[in-house]
Structure formats: structure tokens, C-alpha cells
Symmetry: D2
Subunit: 377 residues, 4 copies
């Protein structure tokens, strides 16, 4: 199957940030093209999005049922859907796709609750169709490099992880389409900041270290007056090997834009990566030496090198990282393996993380096992 | 004309860096799609590139004549070509396109010599078809912002410009497809480093200041033993308003990747932009205050904002900057204006810059008028 | 009293890091000179230090009693002592000085335990002699500037504080004079990392915000096998106005040198200072603007300006910050006020912090009131 | 001679920036103490400075003759003088000191002209007393480290040097004591910016590379209207081994504080040091690797290590660098060698540099030999 894979989009209509990002990312490598979608739950707005996306208006559908039915009849029907709608739509959208035999690429979090996630995991297992989650940051070449270096022992045994995701855009009133649903429990789920960005930090920490979080202590709060969901999260972690962790996520830190950063310290070295300067990795050795590992140089291993599109010094960023996930997903659809592509396991773990943290914080429960981990589960 | 514009590519086949970049950039906004090409002067390699680019093999042509003839017969024939071949091909490729009534987007430099550039300028004028040049760096949102700020008087009257373009990849032997032609006068033209990257620095300086360079003093050298073309350039500049300038370009500075940086100082402030951290601009005021202007914040003016695709903190880079030029070019093809899109004037001035500098350096001529400027021209 | 003030030193003999630092700092402004000392509990080593410090060997005393007795008899006897010995010496040294009517400048922490600190506080009150603590980081000009900006409302109401103190030098075995006593409960007290550097972070957070910590949740651990005292601390904080805080201190983060950093976020802005680049302050405004406030520019307020010794761009660092505390202390000895000089209150609060955190962590007590704060005290 | 060496100061009275800096630097290591001075050509102001410096008023002399005569009669008379007055005083002050048999530490430049410098060099030779120049930046530990690394072949054969010294404080009118004399040819000499800061850049380039500049091409200008001396300098260099160089110095770059930076590229690597972040050195290898060499780590060689006073991460800066020169000078006075301490040769070369550049620029002479270098000398 050498043709371009055909993507339908669910959500992502006018005013959305993430819809166009999915389109850019999916199409960047010419493996995939956007051909159809239900871009909004409002049929008129879905239709209007056809022009924005420059697709055939006949394929901008009013609802999921119509899309899956219509596309199934076409010879050139969609191969998969991308789910870019708010969190509470993730389960019904994925369910409809899987029922239609269509593969699914979904925005994180997997669903609006852990129970939903478990339900979806079963549906996926039954359907036997590819399913992946856009934990975008794991698509950055130097995140892959960091993972490879840790796995190769560059910093020795991991002892300490500090992962932060700092934003400030919800420090004031949550106006605008991007903000509104994120602070509404009915649409976002039980987690606010933790579900929106905390899960990215969580997934990144497990991804780079190759270690699972087993316990946590969570302190979540809604700092902005009147807010129903958390907008500031401080969480202490323990990893399966005993390593200590700190996960900080906030959306009220004025001036922070998208400050995802991870520091990992082992008994032989340390490693630092920052999303806002994504093309370099700092590597400390216990002998006092410090190396800047830069994208596009001969210092980069093959996995990260293959996910870099330009020579060193030509900055690549968020869209390219996102596109790396779609490249992996396209490979899967074509029958290849993409072991680092986030999927069901990441989804379930992230939802368990959110649910554990939200519950533990609400109950002021101190240290608790991550749901699904620990002797008591 | 709401359909996607159809692009043919000239050059950019297997092993090329810049071909895929053109494709990414052209298609990013879904205004354009790559449908055809003569990807190599070797017919077999051109055909082989069809698979890489996922286009119809029937449209991977063996030569320009065949492409233009065949495409002209199609209802869905190409709207324009992108020229991504080495410098000495630029003129013949553009000539063939214009003769076929096809618009042209071309890699810089415009041609291999100023005489060729002048010839091409006339052809373009006669053909009346859109023509643009991928001076990529002028596509960065914060370069647009910098230009707007200077124009609005943020730093007062410009007094001093320092523009640097630092690379180190040609510090050793020039191996590999990317390097070989760049150090060969028959393919690159009379300028080596100056034609490859010096012109970017020159265009950027004129673009951001809105001022023309009128005189220069050039010191070019081939530092690596056995090299025929310059790989290190130090050039002093004078601008039309009397402002002083320094342009440094080098390809032998080990460790520098793609270090294009510009600093502009006026009587009221200063401004710094660096391509390797492109999403911020430093703005100094004469009162001692210093501001970091960051992409995606409310501090950014409308022109730059419109060329940013993601919220602040989601790094955008080289491909997105490149895509901004294609977006402008698509607008022109659709009949709109895009006054900041580099074109003939930039091309001619850059070629005059190269020719002036190469000649002046060879003759150790001291300060000379830029060809086309000054009383003696 | 226009003469230079005369300082005696306790501890700080050969091999110590902090002894010479006290000497540099005390003498920098020529307000003070080192003239005497008990540089070691070993009389021979104390005497040997006279040469290192270039003081009269007759004034390098074998013990405290001899020093205070001998100096009291001199016309040019010491005006104050600096205590630079390990923590468990702080109380006896200060007691001896106060008994001799001599003022005291002491290394932090105030003592080895809170009980000792309270005892010392009473002795100071009785003695009526000046007493100050070298919480060095509060001496940095831009820390003073940060405090002034927060107080003036630059970031609005403080909501969130993240203060980190990252080091890596104890990631391996704790060899050498500097390391040994710090990991020994008999000499360091109940806190390891928390008493050595955590208290600096605590004091800095209260100093810059002007807010008191009232509650905390502590997770301390000895990460390096075999270590008796904590070397890694994660502590959640609540401030008196309800603001949330995170305090991270570690001595096992390989590659971190002396990474003290503070971020403070309010409802109108944010502020960042990093000790390793101490001459700038980042100030974020809620309108998306970001300013770099640089030492030595006209943007700096009078208090910070007065504590800067060179023009902007001439880096000042740790010794100058330390010297600013001595300048304040000299002012106090001469009868002036120095309201920002850390003293008894900072000492007591820091000891309460250590004791609360060590106890709460050991008992896994969750959130607890800071000893001395809260309704239950 | 284990006693502290006794320093007299010439110039450096009230309002001066550099006088107190000399005092801080001289006394930091307790090798030296300031005891006397002619702090101003105005006797009353000289006397008034005694209080500022806390020295015996009887030793704040009205003129040089009185100082040298009076001090010669004392048992505890001065061992050397520091010359901190404007450039045109350097020769007469040094002459008087040498005539009195007193050693000299002098501000750069050596004198106000090359002819004067040659006269002084002869006087020094005759007097046989130590003489040194405060080319402060060569006292930074990581500048010493850079020199040692280059000498050890870390970057291979030097091919290219870019040294910049950027300031902005003279972008407006030159008000205030610091500025006035620097723009006055009668006091500063023939060079403005070039004599004030350009010589630092020149000395640094020769110091770190270990190579002599043999030819140059200079373009100096007075950018600010009405200014008599240059305030902006662009100079191309050739080194004795054929390496190419660029030296940029400016005092009109608004927002630049004290931006001295050097980049050196060889055939095997590259090296970058910046005065404003002086505690790290960037080292590029031709294999694409980049190392950050940080002060106070085990990566630092013995010479730089010995000039660092605190552990890594405790920023040291300008005063400590300056003090390193005084430490070397004290060693020389005590009979030891200090081969890296700048002295007569640096002074003569710098003056030749200024004179060559000023003359060549005025005459628009193109490439010229550095006076004293080349076949024609």
C-alpha cells in the first residue's frame, strides 16, 4: 500500500488550535492526507471547516454515524480517524470508529475517566485495529535520544526525576474556545491542569526513564477564584526502582508559555531537556563534564536522527515532533512496528495517574499506590 | 480558485536536503501540492524520486522540455515550478518555465552570476508571471516583527548593523552531495560561502532595516587548503542612510551549525534576533530596559502573528518559516499582494552583492560601490 | 567610629571553603578587617592559619576562652566574631562571644537544632549585641530588587512560589573536609541537605515574597546508600496568604553545581531569578510582555543599585553578595539600621523549618503546621 | 617578605569607577593593602578620598612628588603604585614612580601614544622595577583555561578569530565623569573606543591564541554627532600563522553592557568565551560534539583552578578576575614569576595596534602591517 493514507478528523473545527496541528502533522511526511471529517458537533460549522481544510465539502459530515457510513461506501474511504475533540468525546468517537473498523489516532487524554479508558481498551482489543495517542512530546527527536541514552546507561541508575509543565495562560479568566472546555468538568473530565498537561509530563517521565511510576502524593488546587478544576498541581512520585520524582504542572504561572522540562539524575550522570529549546539535550557526567547534544550532529543516535528532517541548526519544533507520531502511526497502518508510539498502555497509565492524583488530593490521602500498581490492587 | 495550487519541482531528488524542505514548506498550509517534477538531470533518478515524494511516476519527468510540454496538455497541470537545483541551473530552469508560461519559485541565489540575473529579470518582466526567491529567513515571524518594529521607530535611526551567518560543516573536506557542488565554481558560481549563505545575511540585513547597502569592503578567502571558492567572508558595509554594517559569513567555524544572527542598533534602541532561537527577539531601549518579545504572545504585531501557527511556547522553526514564503507565493498566484515576499529586486541586489564582493576582494579594492549603486554606475 | 571594624573568626581554618569567603566578603568594602581567630579546634592548625590569613600569629588562638580573654585586654580588640565552624559549634561559639560582649555574625543554620536556636535567641536578647546570619543569597542585588518589585506589586498578589536548590556534589561518596561533616548528624544536626541548602531556599522564598510559610509537607530521603542524613528533599509549602509553594533541594543531582533558583507567580505577573546568572531578573507581565532586568542599568532601584559595585555587564557574584551582608552588618555595628540583614527571626524560622520538615518526613505526617505557626502551637 | 605589600594609588578618587575596583582587586587576596595615594590632581579632592578609602589622611597626598618623597622616608612606605588616572597621565605617573624606585601596576592603555609607550618601555628597562598592566580580562580563570586548551591543541591549528567588545553606554551624549575624558583626545589619546576597549579585545585575542597580529585593516568612526574620537570600530586582522581575524568594538550599541566575547576556530574545533557569563567556556569538536567547560569542576586545568576562589556554581566575576592580576603582580614583587601577567610587551603591542588602526582608518589605507611587524619596519 504505497498510496497516502486517508484521514478523517473528529473535532478540530474553526477556532480550534489542535485540529490544524493534527492536519499539519499528519500530512508533513506525505504519508497521510486529510480527506474527511466531523469537525464540529454543529453540522453547519463542520461544513464550514471544509473550506478551511480545503477538503471536499461533501466529506465534511454532520455527525459520526454519517461519516462512517458514507466513508465505508467509498473506494477511497478513510483509513483512520483522528480524534481532536474535547476529552468527553474521546470515548464515543473512538467507539464509533472502532465499530466501523476504522483505526484511531486520538488526542490525549485517552478518555474523560479511567473507567472509560478501561472500556475503550477492551473495545480496542476486540476491534483489533491500530490505536495511538498523540503524546506529542515523545515525538521530539531529542526526547528519543534522551530515552536511548538513559537506556544505554549514560547516567547510570536513575535516582531522581523532576518533570515540570509550566503554563500561564489560565492565570486569568478562562476565556475563549481553547480555555472554556478545559475548565469545565463536564467536558474535560475530573482533571483540569492535570488532565490537560500533567499527563504529558507523566508520560514523558515514564517514556524517557523507561520506568513506571508506582506511588504518588498529590496536591492539586484551583488557584483562580471560581474555577471548578485544578489549575496547579504538585505531585511527588516514586518509580518502580525506588527512584524519587517530582511532577509540577501549572496553568497559572504568568509568563510561562509551554514550559515542559525534564531532568533525570542517575548515579553516574544527569540529563536535561526543555521543550522550548527542543533541539538540544544537556548531559552531565559525574566527572564534572557537561555535553550539549545537538540535533543534526553526528552525536545523535539513529532513532533520533531518523526523526530529524533538516541539518543541524535549522530549528525543528512542535509540528515536526507531532509529525513523528503520525509517521510512526502510518508505519503501523502499513503493517510495521513502531514500539515507541504511545498507545493503550500509555493511555491507561495516564488515566490511572489522573484518577489517582485527583482522588488522593481531594482526600488529602498522602502517599498512595497508582491505581493498578501496588500490592493492594 | 480555491483548489490547491499545483507545484512541479526542478531538482531536489534523492540525497538533496532542500527538495524535501520545499515540499514540506509548500504543502504545510494545504495551499499547494507537489504533483510533478524533474528531480534530477539523470532521468532514472528523477523517476526514482516519484516514490520518495509519493507522486504519480508518470509525472516524474526526464527533462524540463518534457515536463513543461506534458503538463501543459493536462487539465490539472502545474501552476508553478520550484527550482531546487544547484545555482548554475537556476537561469535555464527559470527560462524554460517562463517560456512555458509557468510561474517560478526559486532557491537563492537568483542565478550563478549577476549577468544571468539581469537576463532573468528581463525574462520575468516579459513573461509577466509571478517569480519569487526563497530567502527563507525573511519568512520567520519574528523577522517580520523585527522589521515592523524598526519601521515603527522602536530603535530610532539605524546606525549600526551586525549580521553573521556562521557554519562549520565545510571546515573539513567537502564530501557528500550537499557539499560538493557548493565548492565547485562550475556549479555554484563565482561565490562559495558568500553565494550560499552570505546572500542570506545580506538580504536579511536589508529586509529588517528597510535600508539598502550602497558600499562595501570585502575580504573573502578559501581557508581550507585546495578549495577553489571562498569559505570565509568578512565584509564591511555602508547603508544608504550612512549606517555602518558588518557582515560575517563562514563555513569553517567548527561547531557552528546554522548561526544566522542579526543585531541592529539605532540611536534609541537595539534589536537582536538569532535563527537558532527564532521565537524570540531581544529589544533594548536606550533607558536601559530590555524586553524579550516572544512568538505567540500578545506583544506580537498582526503580520508576525498571522505567520505563527501554534500558541506561544510551541517552537516553530525553519520549515514553518519556509512555509510562510510559500503562503505568500500562493497568495500572489491567487492574485493577492505579498509585498514582503522576496523577488526580483532581492535577487538582483544579492547577485550584485556577490559580484561586487568577489571582485573587490580579489582585487583588494578597498571600499567600493555596490554594483548598481553609487555615482559611478 | 570611622576606623575599620575588627573581626575574629571561629573556624574557617585550612581546607575550609567558607572561612576565606568570610574574609573576602568582610573586607571587600574596607569596613572590616580580620585580625584574630580560633580557626580550628586543633590549636596547631589554628596557629597555622595565621599565615594563610596573614594575621598576627599571636592572635591565632587555641580556643575560644583564650581569644575572648586576650582580645578583651587589647585596645584594638575584636569588635565581633564570625562563626564559620560546623553547625554543632554555632551555639557554643555564639554563647562564648555574647558572654564576652562581642557581636556575632554566624553561618547559617543558626544552630544544630531548634531548641538550641531558641536558647541562643534568648542569649542574644539578654546580651543586646548585634547578631546576624549569612543567608548569603539575600545579599545579591537582584534578590533585593526582586523583593522590592514584589513589594511594589509588580506581579500582583503572590499565588505560587517554586524555589529550588540543586547540587550534585554529594551524589557519590562524601569525601573531603567539606563533605564529611555535612553528612554526619553529630556535626550537622538533624538535617543534611535541608539544613545545608534547604534553609537557604526557605529563607530566600520568605525574603523575596515577604510572606511567611505556615504549613508544609516534607519528603526527605538519603538517596546515597549508607548515608545517615537526607540528601534530597521535596517539600510542599503554604504561605500565610494561602499561596502555594514547592521547595526542592538536592545534593545528588549530578551536574548541578549551585542551582538556587526562585520563581514567583502572582495574579499580575511572574518573576524568575537564578543564582548562577545572578545579574539578571526575568519579569513577566500578564499582558504577555517579558522584561530582563539587568544589574547596573537604570532599571534597577536604589537599594539594589547601592549594593552593586561595578557598571552593568561587569559580572558580580557570590563574594559581592556575601560582602553586602557584611556591609549591612558593619552598618549595624556603627549604629545604623539594616532591616534586610538576616538575623534572629530568620534563624529561628529556618530552624523551625528544618525541624518541622525532618520530623514530618520521618513520621510521614502529611501536611503539618510549621512549628511556631498555626492554631495548635 | 610575608607582610602585605603596600600600594599607593594615582587617580581613582571620588566618582571614579576604576579606583575602587583597583582597591577591591588588590586587597582581595590579602597580599596587598592600599595605604596611600594621589587620588586626584586637585589636592582637596585627593584628601577627601582618604575617608572613602579609609586610609590615613596624612597619606592622601596633593601631588606625585610629595607622595614619593614622603613615602620614601617611611619605614612602611609604599611598595608600588597603581595608576588609575586617565590615559594622558599614565606616562608621567609611571615616570615619577620609576624615578622613585617604585614598581608600577598601570591601567591600560600603557600611555596615550605609541611614542610615549616606547619611552616608558625604556624607562622601565632602566629602572628594573616590576611593571604590569591591568588587561583585566586575561585574569578570568576560563580565559586562562581557554589559552591552555588552545595551546594544548584542543582546536587544532587556529584559522579564525572573532573578538567583539560591545558597549552601548556612549550611544547618547557622553555625560558624567566616566564618559567625558574618554571622548576627549587631550585626555584619552588618539583612540576613543579603540583605546578604551578595542585594546582589551586585541590583547585577549593574542593572549588566548598565543599568536601575534601582524596586519590589519581598520574602519573607525565617530558615530555620535559631534564626537571627536571613534566610538565604533570594525577591524580585520591577520595573525602571524595566517589565521584570519575580525575585531569589533563599539560603544554605541544600545543595550550592550560589557559584551566582550571571543570565538576561536581551528581545523579541529572551536572555542567560545563570553565575559558576561565568564564561568563557562564552550568547546566544539569537529566530530560534532560540544562541551560546556564550567569553572570549579574537575574539567578545569590547574592554572585556572588556582585562580578560582569558590566551588563551581558560585559565580565569580570581574573583581575576582581583576584580583587575579594583582595576585600575579604580588608574586612578582615577592620575586616569583608570573609569565601570564600582562606587561610591557602587551602594552607596546596594544599601543602599536591603536596607532596603526587610527592611522590606517584615517588614511583609508586598506591592509597595513601592524607597526613593528612586517618587512617594512
Amino acid at each position: 500500500m504505497n498510496r497516502r493514507l486517508r484521514m478523517g478528523m473528529i473535532g478540530g473545527g474553526a477556532g480550534a488550535f489542535i485540529g490544524p496541528v493534527h492536519r499539519f502533522a499528519a500530512e508533513l511526511d506525505r504519508e497521510i492526507e486529510l480527506v474527511a471529517g466531523v469537525f464540529s458537533s454543529d453540522a453547519g460549522r463542520s461544513l464550514a471547516s471544509a473550506a478551511d481544510y480545503k477538503i471536499d465539502p461533501a466529506r465534511a459530515y454532520p455527525d459520526l454515524a454519517t461519516m462512517f457510513a458514507s466513508e465505508a461506501k467509498r473506494e477511497d474511504g478513510i483509513d483512520f480517524v483522528t480524534i481532536a475533540s474535547p476529552n468527553h468525546h474521546h470515548l464515543p468517537a473512538a467507539r464509533a470508529a472502532l465499530a466501523a473498523g476504522v483505526a484511531v489516532m486520538s488526542d490525549k487524554p485517552m478518555t474523560a475517566s479511567l473507567a472509560e479508558a478501561r472500556e475503550l481498551a477492551e473495545l480496542i482489543a476486540q476491534a483489533g485495529r491500530p490505536y495511538a495517542l498523540t503524546y506529542t512530546y515523545s515525538g521530539y527527536p531529542l526526547v528519543r535520544e534522551a530515552r536511548a541514552r538513559v537506556a544505554a546507561g549514560a547516567i547510570g541508575t536513575v535516582r531522581k526525576v523532576v518533570v515540570e509543565y509550566r503554563q500561564g495562560w489560565l492565570a486569568g479568566a478562562a476565556d475563549g474556545k481553547q480555555a472554556e472546555w478545559r475548565v469545565d468538568p463536564a467536558r474535560a473530565g475530573a482533571g483540569g491542569c492535570i488532565g490537560d498537561i500533567g499527563v504529558h509530563a507523566f508520560q514523558l517521565a515514564e517514556f524517557v526513564t523507561g520506568l513506571k511510576v508506582t506511588r504518588l502524593l498529590a496536591d492539586l488546587a484551583a488557584v483562580v477564584p471560581g474555577r471548578a478544576l485544578d489549575d496547579d498541581c504538585s505531585i511527588l512520585l516514586r518509580f518502580e526502582n525506588g527512584a524519587r520524582g517530582v511532577l509540577l504542572a501549572s496553568q497559572i504561572e504568568v509568563g510561562e508559555l509551554n514550559g515542559l522540562r525534564i531532568r533525570i539524575y542517575g548515579d553516574q550522570g544527569g540529563l536535561v531537556w526543555r521543550q522550548e529549546t527542543p533541539n538540544e539535550l544537556i548531559l552531565h557526567r559525574i566527572d564534572g563534564g557537561t555535553e550539549i547534544v545537538r540535533a543534526g550532529t553526528a552525536q545523535i543516535g539513529p532513532d533520533a536522527q531518523a526523526r530529524t528532517r533538516t541539518p543541524g541548526g535549522h530549528p525543528e519544533g512542535y509540528l515536526e515532533a507531532f509529525a513523528n507520531l503520525y509517521r510512526d502511526f502510518a508505519a503501523v497502518l502499513r503493517g510495521a512496528a513502531a514500539p515507541l508510539l504511545p498507545g493503550i498502555a500509555d493511555g491507561l497509565r495516564s488515566m490511572a495517574f489522573v484518577e489517582t492524583a485527583v482522588t488522593a488530593s481531594r482526600d488529602d490521602a498522602g502517599w498512595v499506590d497508582l491505581i493498578g500498581e501496588g500490592a493492594t490492587q
